[in-house]
Amino acid sequence: MQGNNRMTVFVFVIFFVMLVVLHYIGAIGWVERTGLRIINPLIHVVYKQNVKIRTLTETFSSTQELVARLEELQSRVNQLEHLEATSAVLLVENEELKKQLNFFRQHENYRWVTCNVVGETIEERTSGVILDCGTRDAIAVGQAVVAGEGVLVGKVVEANEVSSVVRLLNDSKSRVAVSVLNKDRSIGIAEGGFGISVQVTHIPQSEELSEGNTVITSGLEEYMPRGLVVGSLETITRESYQPFQRGVIRVPLDYQKLIIVSVVTVDAL
């Protein structure tokens, strides 16, 4: 070894001894911490990529192992598909609940009960749904049923202890006292039309209706608070020989897709 190199080795041996001594007396703790602060983020970045790669790649020692893994993964895919479908339903429910909650937050004087729609009424040419809450949840006949952000969808027509039946607004026998938000604040009745439409009737010919006018509940009947949205006027029909004019209401919700609704209880009145 040449003289220079001997010197280098000697210097580094001394340096090494000092390094060890300084480490054990804690004098170079700040150097170690700085080193870790620099290296750790770099290692973390690489490690994250490693984990990503490891989760994407796998090695197998035999065909049987591969087949077994394939079957396991197929089963897992089935489970995940089921989970995905469940999540989609939950997502829709969550969105609906948020909307309803938002509405009731804005109307603190309302009291409500949230219910699941568990089915539809069985009779033909009717339009109704079954709820999973009943009189034990303070549900009573005549109460308003809303969905979304305060959109009236029907009224409770039957209530037993654990479930109740709601007549939707588009049922032929549905009648709700409504008000049109035009300059006359016209009062009328929203009637169902064979399960396919909702119309506002009993509005005098003298009052002016326009397409797009919002129709809300008038609050002139028992259990029905004022201000629940029914829909907006789509078409208006005036017959000169009739005392009243009528309009078809475009409802903002598809009544066939109701999954969660809220029943407004009497405190709102």
């Binding site: 190199n5 390094l19 480490h23 290296i39 290692i43």
Partner: protein, 174 residues
């Protein structure tokens, strides 16, 4: 002055790259590819093509960082790596003397084996028992390290040789 700064920056970059690769590769690659010893490959090249002080600085800083991620008592890894570098340097200076691939591979082997032996010796010294030592395991381990690292060394050597005059076997440093 400028040369010293460039050299220092180069060594720090090499240290950072090699330690990050070394620490990460155990989880990234499967056996036997994770036996490629990046630090020893770089150290071998430094011993051949850079002054001894560069190799020593590299060894000390790399080992110091590795100590922070190791379970062994502080100083063991640094001592083993620095001692291996010195042994590799001595062998290269006294016995090999040329820049052929065989010289490079031999130096790598000597560094690997000496490092392993020193580590074993120190771990026995620290723990006071041979119970944790399996010579067969160590032999297999070093063999794989040598085979895989030599493969990479071979590739890098021919790239370096192509672009770097000092790396040609016919060139002898005076």
């Amino acid at each position: 002055m400028m040369y010293s700064i460039v050299r220092a920056v180069g060594i720090i970059a090499l240290v950072l790259i090699s330690t990050v690769i070394f620490i990460s590769q155990k989880t990234l690659l499967n056996f036997p590819y994770n036996q490629i010893h990046v630090i020893f490959i770089i150290l071998t090249f430094l011993l051949f093509f850079a002054p001894l002080s560069a190799s020593m600085w590299y060894s000390v800083i790399v080992a110091f960082i590795l100590e922070l991620y190791a379970l062994t008592p502080f100083g063991v890894l640094t001592f083993a790596l620095v001692a291996s570098a010195i042994i590799g340097h001595m062998v290269f200076q006294r016995f090999l003397t040329n820049f052929s691939f065989i010289s490079l591979a031999t130096t790598l082997l000597i560094i690997l084996v000496s490092n392993r032996v020193i580590l074993l010796f120190l771990s026995v010294l620290v723990s006071g028992t041979f119970a944790d030592v399996s010579l067969f395991f160590e032999l297999v381990h070093v063999s794989w390290e040598f085979v895989m690292s030599t493969g990479v060394l071979f590739l890098v050597y021919f790239l370096v040789r192509h672009f770097y005059r000092l790396a040609r076997p016919e060139y002898v440093r005076r």
